[in-house]
């Protein structure tokens, strides 16, 4: 029997054969087989919890499989050894970047590439090699820059370079666009295509259908730990993949016509400078009861600052924020909560929950002083726990325990918990910033349904999002934010990708015309 040769003659570079992995009673991977050809981009599609990351961790030697084998270019990899995987040419780009922020790009790339006991690192050789790689693959980066000073897109570039520096011929990207803006993601896909054309083989893990459709040759769908389907990308559709991934047809909820009422929230010429984020340069808008106002924009145009102002985090330098015609009594978080504003923050881990505290503590934190949850300065744990248990079942938060730490929840379930907490307080205004970022299809549909329900109950919803589909699906009126200013508002019926693109680019002539027409129509 002849062994397959390593190198140019082999076209099948990677094979996963019958991988099974059990965590306690859960079967994370059930007899999964997968292969990868040279120069091919395979998308591994599946919802959160489908077993994608576990599979890739086994491939990379972070976990040991209970059964099955990983072969790289025909050679079996010893299980549980990431070093062996790296040597065999497998490179992993982690979702949460595995970088040290205080070290330079070069140092991050070099770590572990030289024998540990060598008395002196050869930095100049490493710098040359890094420069060569970044030139060859079109990934420009300053080797002496501190990683903390880099943008998210640049950090991802460093992660990819790190893998290439380790002579990776197989690149695994775990949710590569989770932290990228649309533009950065497109640039990444172009780079991946080029790298594949140069002979690299790529597995991209994702739950985003758009991304899978535009950036892969072949799609492998994983559900409940099993491979349920495999398709050539050009022979399938988004709808088919969505159904395969979720196991049933998913439909995002439809938005019934709005019946806008009184003006709930009015911002007048709000100015705010600095604060680390983008400044606001005169933001004016009105939000009525029973309507959703969508704010679209390219990331970094003031979305975070605007959400912060309406959430009470930053008092504005100039201008005013009025609720039902009266200025806010105190412009701080407590004042905003008292005024009936519910907040779904952009960064759910940092601002939405306290990860190391119990679920019930997170649920009642905002309402701790209400008589329902405390009496004479003593927390009524029983009532708080009962309310939490109710919320967990009402909002279908899976995997959560009343006394368990919130950190252990998946992104989708954490967002459901936050949504539930907001809705339980029955807010008249809801500020939702990037509410479905990083969630899978099923969870997104759930979040959208809740927001539409709240609107139909008469709440005013300020939706700040970078996802065009989401804004078009949920909003009644849409404005774009550009450089800390808001465009004229257009009704959602008249929004299409081209018009929104113009608005996001700062060309507001058409939008202004539409707004004028709308106002004229209402005046009649």
């Amino acid at each position: 029997m002849s062994r397959p040769l390593r190198g140019a003659g082999v076209t099948r570079v990677l094979e996963l054969d019958g991988i099974t992995k059990r965590f306690g009673s859960t079967l994370a991977n059930d007899n999964v087989s997968l292969h990868l050809e040279r120069g091919e981009v395979v998308a591994l599609l599946g919802e959160n919890g489908a077993g994608k990351t576990t599979l890739m961790s086994i491939l990379f030697g972070h976990y040991t499989a209970d059964a099955g084998e990983v072969r790289v270019e025909g050679q079996a990899l010893p299980p549980g050894k990431s070093r062996a995987a790296i040597r065999a040419g497998v490179g992993m780009v982690h979702q949460h970047f595995a970088l040290a922020a205080n070290l330079t790009v070069l140092e991050n790339v070099m770590t572990g590439t030289e024998p540990l006991w060598r008395p002196r690192s050869d930095r100049s050789a490493a710098r040359r090699r890094l420069a060569d790689l970044s030139e060859r693959f079109g990934l420009p980066v300053d080797p002496e820059a501190r990683v903390a000073d880099l943008s998210v897109g640049e950090r991802q570039r460093v992660e990819i370079l790190k893998a290439l520096y380790n002579e990776a011929r197989i690149l695994i990207l775990d949710e590569p666009t989770a932290v990228l803006t649309t533009q950065q993601a497109e640039r990444l896909f172009a780079t991946l295509r080029e790298m594949a054309a140069k002979g690299l083989s790529i597995i991209s893990i994702s739950h985003k259908l758009n991304e899978v459709m535009s950036a892969s040759d072949r799609v492998v769908v994983l559900r409940g730990g099993r491979v349920v389907a495999e398709r050539r990308t050009r022979e399938t559709t988004k709808e088919e993949l969505a159904e395969l991934m979720v196991g049933r047809a998913v439909e995002r909820p439809k938005r019934p016509p709005a019946h806008p009422g009184e003006v709930l929230l009015e911002a007048r010429d709000i100015h705010l400078s600095g604060r680390g984020g983008t400044a606001l340069n005169g933001v004016t808008f009105r939000l009525r009861a029973g309507e959703t106002l969508g704010i679209i924009g390219v990331s970094g145009n003031g979305q975070t600052t605007l959400a912060g102002v309406v959430s009470g985090l930053y008092p504005p330098d100039g201008g005013s924020l009025e609720i039902r015609g009266a200025p806010l009594a105190r412009h701080d978080v407590a004042g905003v909560i008292d005024a009936g504003i519910g907040r779904i923050p952009e960064d759910r881990h940092a601002e939405g929950v306290l990860g190391d505290m119990a679920t019930w503590e997170n649920v009642v934190l905002e309402r701790l002083w209400s008589p329902e949850f405390s009496r004479r300065g003593i927390v009524r744990r029983g009532a708080a726990r009962a309310a939490t248990a109710r919320l967990l079942s009402d909002y279908d938060v899976r995997g959560a325990q009343v006394d368990g730490r919130v950190r252990l929840l998946s992104g989708g379930n954490m967002q459901k918990l936050i949504l539930g907490r907001v809705m339980e307080a029955d807010p008249s205004i809801i500020v939702a910033a990037q509410p479905s970022r990083g969630l899978d299809e099923g969870a997104i549909a759930g979040v959208h349904r809740r927001l539409i329900e709240a609107r139909d109950r008469g709440a005013g919803i300020l939706l700040i999002s970078e996802d065009l589909d989401e804004v078009i699906a949920l909003s009644d009126r849409i404005r774009a934010i550009v450089g800390g200013r808001l465009s004229p508002a257009i009704p959602a019926e008249r929004a299409d990708a081209r018009l929104l693109g113009l608005m996001m680019a700062g060309d507001w002539a058409t939008a202004a015309e539409i707004e004028r027409q709308e106002e004229a129509a209402h005046a009649l």
Partner: protein, 313 residues
Amino acid sequence: MSAVLDILASVGMWEAVLRIATPFILGTLGVLLCERVGVLNLGIEGIMTFGAMIGWLTVYSGGSLWAGLAAAALCGAMFGLLHASMTVNLGLSQHVTGLGITLFASSFSYYVFRLAVPTSTSPPTVEPFRPLAIPGLSDIPFLGPVLFNQTAPTYLALALVVVLAWVLYRTPLGLAIRMTGENPHAVDAQGIDPIWLRIGTIMAGSALMGLAGAFLTLAAFNSFFPTMVQGRGWICIALVVFALWRPGRALIGAILFAFFDAFQLRLQTVVDGVPYQLFLMLPYLLSILALVVMARKARVPQALMQPYRRGER
């Protein structure tokens, strides 16, 4: 005023500075190593006490001075292993473990000491390291006796500053150590096991703490008494922050502290009418002040005090 200037101009004062600084240099390097790899080691106070005791005991029972130092380093490393097994392998609280080791090692030192020397009113002495004049260099006026007429462990401490700076900033091992203190996941992703790296580095750092203690009984004094470390270990913890986690700055910090200490001692003799306790406070007050100034610039290792477990974020 002229008395103060006389102190500052005296060779004796400056000679004392390096001597007083030596245990701080060794101890600070030890803490620095542990923290660079992401672990706070509050066991230093106890490890120094044990190092002082075991170093002295080795020499007292007939071993050589160098054997005494070696024994102190070895015992330090063993306490480091204990600390690492609790904080790295089991992921327990680094504060509690460190303080526990300090309490345990201090009391255990006294226990072993009493077993060896059951009855005595004045502690028995050994013959300590003598100053080692470096031929030629020690004849330079002023600088000669100050820099080149020290004991061997002081030269060793100075050499270790250079060695450690080299290891941390010029070798693959040092890069891996620094990265483990910043983000152990990143090290793991590059195929190096951060657990073993942490265990090894903590042992090395703790060995230096043992050496720092042994210097007290084998060079600075010639006998052991249980309270002799006198908070020097805690000062080292502060000096690491002052040093911004860099060996060269650790040396400067240790020398600065030692300077104030030597200065206040001599000041006590020339200034009348001021309680001597105020002078004793001087170095500590000044180190707090220095810390306030320096801590603003501090870039703490990002993973300091965070236990590492695979697959957990």
